[in-house]
Structures are given as C-alpha cells and as structure tokens.
C-alpha cells in the first residue's frame, strides 16, 4: 500500500512540474533571450516586506540594483528605488505550447525594476525564466526520446520474442551492436556532417532522434523476455488453437502482459534521456544560443570564475534534483507494483 502513496506523490509532483514548464511563458517574468546588459551576473533578487525605515509593506517589494563602486563587477542595493511585486502583470509576449499567445505573466515588478529569482547569467538574462524555458526543451527531449526508444523496443522485442529463431538472433545481436557503439563520437561526426546552420527545431529533432534511437536495445531485451514467457501461457496457446492470427495474439494477449514493463522503462528512461540532453548540450551539441536548455544552463559551471564567484549559477542544478527524484520514485514505485501484481 505504501508504494501506492509514493507513486501518487511522485505523479502529482511530476504533473505539477510539467504543468509549470508547459506554461513557462506565464510563470517566467521575462523572455529567455532578453538581455539586461547593465546587470550581468546579478545575484538573486531579495523580496522584502520591511523597508529601510522599518516600515512594513503588505505588498512585497524589491530594491533596484546599482554597480558597487568598491568591488568591480558586483552590485549593491539602491534603497531609494523600490518596486512592488505585482501578480498577473503585462510583459513580454509569449506563446503557450505554440498555440495561443499572451502577454500576462504570473508576477513581475514595474520597469525599470527587475526581479531575478535565480539571478542573471553573463548577459544579464533572468536565470529563472531560462530555467523554465529550458525545461521545455529538456523535458520534451526526454519524453519524446524515451517514447521513441520504448516504441522501437516494443516492436523489436515483440518480434524477437514471438517469432524466435533467426529473427530473434538478428534483432538481439543487432541490439548488442547498438549498445557497444561509441555513440558520443558518432554524434560529433553527425553534427560535423550537417549543414552549417540548421534551424533550432531541426537540431532538437536530431537530438531527440539520436538519443531515442540509441537506447532501444535495453527495453527490447526486457520486452522480449516478457513476450517469451507470455506467449507460452495457457490462454495464449488456447487462442492460437482457435485459429487466432499472430497479429491478433500479439495485440490482444501477449503485448498487454508487457505494459507494466513498458511503463517502468519509460519512467526510468525519461530522466536518463534528460541527462543525455544535458550532456550533449554540455558538449556543445545541443540547441544553440539564445535558446536555453537545462544542459546549457549547466554548461556555465565549467568555468572556474563562475564556480568561485557566482553561487547562484548552481541553483538550476539544484532544482533539477527534485525533478529527477520524482521520476525515479515513480519508476521505483511502478516496479514494486509490478512485482506484487502477478502476470
């Protein structure tokens, strides 16, 4: 019963995260590409209720920033400039899921005030907005690539398990070959062979396809195992005796037995593939500037001066932990459930 709770908690959390990411334009106060060249590497903005005179404000506010004359490259708070925080404000236009456009943002402060919940990057871009928009790329890449992998895994696994013989041999040995491929170098080669500038969505599709294609072998093996045992069960044999076609048997009797495996594989592959996207972007193979992804947010951490001077650049990395945790908990709970439910 306990893993049931765990599962639901994880699913609710995941739904929440995906919802926020899907409506990134609404939750983000700024566009992901808006540069504020006066404020590179600004620290996270502090939200105040009590002003410099000790007066309490029911509406929270933020202070403006100015260059710190004592320390080059850092900022001090200008307590004369106060900007109160408002909700459902008008701002930069955005599109929700590429369908309808809007200008309403969840929160914001009136210009020229700025609110950076996670600070800014080297170009003065809001890291929080970039984190949300970056999630759209990374989560979509994870979901689609995992779907692709599992779909290919089902097809290959079902064929191999159901027919056996040489089909089994060819598919499974082929899968092993895929597992052994030095896919990182393969990717470098693919990128180098492509035309110089390809549209962002093409890069994205390429990324997703490659990540998805590479990973089909493992789910295929598991599904093959389930199909192998599933096709020998009495009701399947009985259906076959009644003259059911192969397609019918697979569709109605054998594949339904593998759904639990498919679901678990999905939840385990998605975070893996998000990480794969992170790695690839880290290596410069992901979507290019100014488009953010979680991988590109982490790339900045390669540099010593960022590690030693700008602690808030770590925050996106910390925020990724609950996302991955939710996926793993969901996967774990599904697996537990699988064990307790007899095939």
């Amino acid at each position: 019963m306990k893993h049931q709770h765990k599962l639901w908690a994880a699913v609710v959390l995941l739904a929440g995260i995906h919802g926020v990411i899907l409506f990134a334009g609404f939750f983000a106060p700024y566009s992901f590409s808006a540069q504020d060249r006066g404020l590179p590497f600004a620290p996270p903005t502090r939200i105040h209720f009590v002003d410099a005179q000790g007066k309490f404000h029911a509406r929270p506010f933020v202070y403006g920033l100015q260059d710190d004359p004592n320390v080059a490259g850092s900022y001090s708070v200008d307590s004369k400039r106060m900007y109160s925080l408002h909700f459902f404000v008008q701002g930069a236009p955005y599109k929700v899921a590429g369908l309808f456009s809007s200008r309403v943002h969840l929160y914001g402060v009136p210009a020229p005030g700025r609110i950076f919940l996670l600070g800014t990057d080297a170009y003065g871009r809001d890291q929080f907005s970039r984190f949300l928009y970056g999630g759209q790329i990374s989560l979509a890449a994870g979901l689609i690539a995992a779907g692709l992998s599992v779909l290919l895994g089902i097809i290959a696994g079902a064929l191999a398990g159901f027919y056996g013989g040489w089909i089994d041999d060819v598919l499974m040995r082929g899968g092993e070959l895929f597992l052994a491929l030095p896919w990182l170098y393969l990717l470098f080669a693919v990128r180098a062979a492509l035309p110089l500038h390809i549209a962002q969505w093409q890069v994205f599709l390429l990324l997703v396809t490659v990540i998805g294609l590479i990973g089909w072998a493992r789910p295929a093996r598991l599904i093959r195992g389930a199909v192998l045992s599933g096709k020998e069960r009495n009701f399947v044999v009985a259906a076959r005796a009644f003259g059911a076609s192969d397609l019918y048997l697979l569709r109605r009797h054998v594949l339904p037995q593998t759904y639990a495996i498919v679901l678990t594989q999905m939840t385990l592959l998605i975070p893996q593939y998000i990480l794969a996207e992170v790695t690839l972007t880290f290596l410069g193979l992901g979507v290019g500037e100014p488009m953010p992804s979680w991988g590109s947010l982490l790339t900045a951490l390669q540099r010593y001066y960022i590690l030693s001077s700008y602690w808030w650049m770590f925050l996106p990395a910390l925020l990724l932990i609950p996302v991955f945790l939710a996926y793993y908990v969901a996967g774990d709970a599904l697996q537990e459930r699988l064990k307790s439910v007899p095939l």
Binding site: R37, A72, L196, Y305
Partner: protein, 583 residues
C-alpha cells in the same frame, strides 16, 4: 624521454661550466675583448628559481620550426637574436649586433657583432654562426616558417660575411621594418647543428627528446631537464653576454621551471595556490577572481591595457563562382553593400561587449589598430556611438524594409537571415557572437550563432568558404604594420573576407594595396604613419572587418619577483627574464 642518465648529464654540465669560467677568465680576454651589454634596470641579486605554467608540451626546441606558443616561450629563454625589439618601448635595440648601419638606398644593412660572446656550451660566437643561421632559415628544403618573413620584394635576403664580427644583409628593395625582422630569429650554433644540416637530418635536430648537452644557445638560460607532460627545467647560462649596471653577470635566477598545466582555469588555480610565480594569458573573469585575495596571497595583478589583439566580425565576400554555394552567394548581395555592413556596425553595442565579455577589461574598437599600438594607431578615427536609428536609415537607403512583425526583408522580399561562425574553444568570441545576435535582432535580422571546433572553422574560412559571417580575432606578433601585410593586401594569405584575389576586387582594396605597398618601402616614420592612417580610415569606412574590441593584456606575478615589467608584446611576462630576480 631523456636518454642520458642524470649523473652523466650533471657531470657534463659541470665541465661545461668550468670550461666557460676558464674561457672567461684566462684565454678569452687575451684574444678578443668581451663586449658585454649593460642593462639599465636596478640591479638585483643572484640566485633562486621561479616556476611558470605552460599550457602544453613544446613541440620542438628547434627555433627553425617552432610554431606553437609553448615552444616559442622556451626558445625565447634559451636563445638570442641580432637586433631585439624592446617589449616595453616597442622599439628596436641592439642585441648580438652591437650596432648597425643602413645604406642610403635602404637596401643594405651592415651589422657589427658583439665580440667575445659565447654559446651556453662555452664555444665562441661569430659571423659564421649568423651566416649558418640565415642559411638554415632561408633554405627551401627546411621549410622554416620564418622563411616567408625573409623574402623581401620577392627575393630572399642575401647574407654576406665581411669579417668575423660584421655581416651584411642585402635586400631586393627598401624595407621599412627591416631592423625588426631580426627579432625572434635566434642565432644557431654552427658547431652543433652543421652536421645535421649537411646530412639532411636538420628537421630532427633539437627535438624535445634530445639530451640537454646537445643544446646550446645565446639566451640567458639553457636546458637542464625535460620530463614530458610534467615540466621543463632551464638553468642559468653562465656564459650569457649581458651584465647589470654594476657589472654583475646576468641572469640572476638559477633556474626557471616550466610546469605543464593544460587549462587556463587550472593555471589560475595553481597560481592562486602559490605553485607558480608568474601568470599570463588569462581572462578578465579570472582576473576578478584573483584580484580579491591578491594582498593576502602576496601577488600582484597587472592590467596592461589593450594589447595588439583585435576581434572583429566579417562577412563572406569571397568569389563563390567556383564553389557550389548558391544560398550564400545569394546573401552576398547584402554583404557586398557597404551600407549593410555599416548598418551592422552601427547596431553593435561595443561597450556592452567590453562589459559583458571582458568584465570591462578591454577597449572598444572602430579600427584594426588598437590603442596599445602606440606608434601606429590613428587617433583621429571616428568612434560613432551605437545607433539603431542610423542603422535603420542605412538599411532603408540600401533598399531594405520591414514586415509587419519587424522582420527585415531585402528589396526582393527575402528575410535577412544569416549565421555567424565562431570557434567553440574561444569563450570570448562565442559571447561576442551572442551579443551581436541580440543586437541585430533589434534590426529585424535573424542571426544564428554556430560554433565549430577551431580547425573545422578555419577550414571553412580558408578553403571551402562555406560560411556567411564569422567572428575572429587576430594578434600580430609585432606592432609594425608590415606584420599585417598578409591581412590587408588583397592577395594576402589572411585577407580573410575575400581570399585568392588575382587583382583587387574593389577600388578601395586596390587603394589599400597601394598604401600598404608604399608604406613597406617608405623609410621615414611620419610618412609611413600617414600612409597607414589612410589604410585605417579606409577600413573603418568600408568595413571589410567590423572591429569590436581589444582585450587588455593581463599578467600576474608574485611580489617577491624583482624587475618585473610585463609588456603588451609577447612574451608578455618573461621578455626580460634575464633581469628577473628574487627580492
């Protein structure tokens, strides 16, 4: 790997040192008077060692082949040239040649060599070594990268020995910067290298795996030990030909240890931890990191102002008729219109680049000569501020217009979209491209930033011409305009925006050709300066390259190092290594 055991090599060294002393004390003064060079800096004291980080293993220690920065840095410490460029004043000064004279027609240089100078193995130096060295550098079969520099007016420089201590150089035409040619051309020991040269094995001579006693140079230091991938130890050359103002033999330091530290960040950390004494070639961001605890850690950081590096954006103006690149050829109609280039230049936020890319430690540029090049920069060049309004005007006058959503379209209704190529290994240029991308988006241009690894980028720029625009940087080794000939002359090998021209493609390129060739043979500085100023004005007007910014040269050194005078010419920190001492 070293093939000689440490014991053997140490003993050899010992005998050499004794030989040196004996020569210096007894035999030498009787035969030839020693003409030591006396330096100006306040005297220090002898002893001690310093550690410096090196980015990579040197590929060779043979001066005729050194191309990479690591090799050049080590070779600089181990060798000497005839006439040297003082890195601080940027002017030439005497080195192994104590004096020289120029014939009236500017085509013959006669150099008087210092007498009594010895290589680090104790053997005497004379005109034969000079003749031999130039024979090597000029030999076609050797393929020395220095050879190109010694071809003046289409003919190699002719070298003639007059006597043991004077040499004459004949040039096919007057050459304004002839004295500066000698800088960075180390004089090789004939007695050690002649056999290899005669046998045709010169290209293997003085590789990094040779035992230290096979090397000898005229520089302040000589090789003691090389451990591949770890460190190179240089020791004091006891026969060095410079003394300080009190007559003390230079160099002061006993040893320099070059530690191999492969990345900039790692070098910064090692310096911060006190493992190395001198740090150069690091970014402005790391300067800020190091600046914070410089007092506590006992080191000092120097911002020397802009160096000679200029970064720029340029468009592909190459003749693409022979290449199958119809997409790019179509866009060249925009790139070839000077108003388009001027609009782009006008929209670029150079101050923003200085602030965001270099933390303020850079100078915005409107021409190719940086303010660091004191003798040659044209200070009257206009510095128009960023103006989107002017950019729009220029675009409008060139037939461009805007769609309802703000997209810029050309006269045929094609949206203006292009990519900027950069090298993925250069973080600063990637940032510049990203800033330009954002700047140009305000004009309705759809710009993509594409980063490739350096060699892939160079291949596109120089061979396939498969690119639309690129951000690049250049830094000539010397301040003199002659070192930039290849860039500005239309037939030059690094005339990046339009290579392989048989005759100048545009009237203004023809004019630049004329001016550059004229300054090359003009001996009077003022007249040369006027000619080169005109080149700078044409470039600023026609914008074949849109100059962006010049980063400051940043150097750090421990407080305990005396006579430390970093300069904006390479090698920034170690150029006066013979005078450095431990306080």
């Amino acid at each position: 790997m070293l093939k000689v055991s440490p014991w053997k090599s140490a003993s050899t060294r010992f005998f050499l040192a004794i030989a040196c002393v004996l020569f210096a004390v007894s035999a030498a003064p009787a035969q030839v008077h020693e003409e030591r060079m006396v330096t100006n800096n306040p005297p220090g004291h002898a002893g001690g060692e310093i550690a410096v980080a090196l980015r990579s293993d040197p590929k060779t220690l043979n001066p005729a082949f050194a191309m990479d920065a690591a090799s050049q840095e080590i070779i600089y410490c181990m060798n000497a040239d005839l006439i040297h460029i003082n890195r601080e004043t940027q002017q030439t000064e005497s080195a192994l040649a104590k004096s020289w004279s120029v014939s009236r027609d500017g085509r013959t240089y006669t150099l008087q060599l210092r007498r009594g100078v010895r290589f680090s193995d104790g053997k005497a130096f004379n005109a034969d070594d000079v003749i031999f060295s130039f024979q090597v550098y000029l030999d076609k079969k050797i393929h020395s990268p220095e050879r190109d520099l010694l071809i003046i007016g289409g003919k190699p420089i002719a070298v003639q020995k007059i006597n043991d201590y004077s040499v004459r150089f004949h040039l096919a035409q007057p050459y304004a910067a002839a004295e500066r040619l000698f800088d960075g051309l180390p004089i090789l020991p004939k007695h050690l290298l002649e056999t290899a040269y005669r046998n045709g094995t010169f290209s293997q001579a003085w590789g990094v795996s040779m035992p230290p006693d096979q090397f000898a140079g005229l520089g302040p230091f000589r090789l003691k030990k090389y451990v591949a991938g770890q460190r190179i130890v240089l020791e004091r050359n006891p026969c060095y030909w410079k003394v300080d103002s009190q007559g003390n033999q230079l160099p002061y330091l006993n040893e320099i240890v070059f530690l191999l530290v492969p990345s900039e960040d790692a070098q910064v950390i090692r310096f911060q931890a006190g493992d190395t004494d001198i740090l150069s070639r690091f970014s402005a961001e790391n300067f800020s990191v190091l600046e914070r605890d410089q007092a506590a850690q006992g080191y000092h950081l120097y911002d020397l102002g802009p160096g000679l590096e200029y970064n720029f954006l340029f468009f592909n103006l190459n003749d693409l008729a022979s290449k199958n690149l119809p997409q790019i050829a179509k866009k060249q109609a925009w790139f070839r219109d000077v108003r388009f280039r001027q609009a782009v230049s006008s929209a670029i936020d150079r101050e923003g680049i200085v602030r965001l890319v270099y933390d303020g430690r850079a100078t915005p540029l409107w021409g190719q000569v940086t303010p660091g090049n004191k003798l040659w920069v044209d200070r009257s060049l206009p510095h128009p501020p960023r103006s989107l309004a002017r950019a729009r005007e220029l675009l409008k006058s060139a037939g461009f217009s805007w769609k309802g959503d703000g997209t810029l379209i050309d006269a045929h209704g094609n949206p203006v979209e292009f990519s900027i190529l950069t090298s993925s290994s250069n973080a600063a240029r990637m940032k510049m491209a990203t800033i330009i991308q954002d700047d140009l988006s305000h004009l309705g241009m759809n710009v993509h930033v594409v980063s490739l690894d350096f060699s892939a980028m160079v291949d596109r720029l120089l061979n396939s011409f498969d690119y639309e625009a690129a951000v690049m940087g250049m830094a000539s080794g010397d301040a003199d305009p002659t070192s930039e000939m290849n860039v500005w002359v239309s037939s030059g090998g690094t005339h990046l925006w339009h290579l392989n021209q048989t005759k100048p493609a545009t009237p203004w390129e023809a004019e630049i050709d004329r001016l550059m060739n004229q300054q090359l043979i003009t001996l009077n500085y003022e007249r040369r300066k006027r000619l080169y100023d005109q080149v700078q004005q044409i470039v600023a007007q026609q914008l074949p390259v849109i100059c962006l910014a010049s980063p400051d040269i940043l150097v750090g050194a421990k407080d305990r190092i005396g006579n430390f005078h970093p300069a904006i010419l390479e090698p920034y920190a170690l150029w006066n290594v013979e005078e450095l001492y431990i306080r």
